[in-house]
């Protein structure tokens, strides 16, 4: 039996939720970043899966979106990590529980 679209979606959902778990539960800023990257990857996987299982010939929209998403994720990771380093220098901690200056 070949894997169906449903299976891919379930895998993607699982990956997303693991990412969410990391982002919500861990206190270290880097874990939050990792979690976000995972969620993005899960979205990318969805796009590719939908493209692959769409009636052919399909335009490569899914593929293109994923490529762009990866590029943006890279940018986001770079800025995020830069922030982590800056914050670390400033507060000497990367534990987000102790950073609550984002008060609104």
């Amino acid at each position: 039996m070949n894997p169906t679209l449903q299976l891919f979606l379930i895998i993607s959902a699982a990956l997303f939720c693991i990412g969410l778990l990391a982002a919500l539960s861990r206190r270290h800023a880097i874990f939050i970043l990792i979690g976000i990257e995972m969620m993005l990857a899960a979205a990318g996987l969805n796009f590719i899966a939908f493209w692959r299982f769409a009636p052919q010939p399909a335009p490569p929209t899914g593929v293109m979106v994923t490529v762009f998403a990866i590029a943006i994720a890279a940018a986001e990771a770079a800025v995020g990590l830069a922030l982590v380093i800056t914050v670390y220098r400033h507060y000497r901690t990367t534990n987000v529980d102790q950073i609550d200056q984002l008060k609104g």
Binding site: P3, T4, C17, I30, R52
Partner: protein, 160 residues
Amino acid sequence: MNSVAFVVIAILTLAAALAAASLQKLIHAALCFAAAFVGVAAFYFLLGAEFVGLVQVFVYVGAVAVLIVFTILLTRRDAERERGFHWSGALIALAIFAGLLWAIVRTSGLSVAAPWIAPLTVRQIGEALMTDYVWPLQCLGLVLTAALIGALVLVMEEKG
């Protein structure tokens, strides 16, 4: 599409991701993160999007993971071992997973097999990038440049 390959990749990817999310030591988590992303890239290969898979490996495993490791090393005094864990986050994540699973399972018409597909060549992608997607591409270039400069400014500011 090979179902055996699928199962193997799925197990590896999810296990690596779970490890990345729950391991105590940061550096281990970062390595698992890289592994998970290799798994995702493998999925892309499996789905016939070889180019995306390659990009995934290059960008994530080659760049982002390395960046993360560097960051961990730079902030290691504090980052060695991370104590806190919010269990409620796990609860919410689990609830959402249940919800998504329910939604996926009860949506009809998803149990389709993959149709045959003409291989997507890099040339095709390149042409699309330069024609239909030229504006997004330019914008993305701008975003990347801005992010690069921004990251540099953020990191350098302290020294000045």
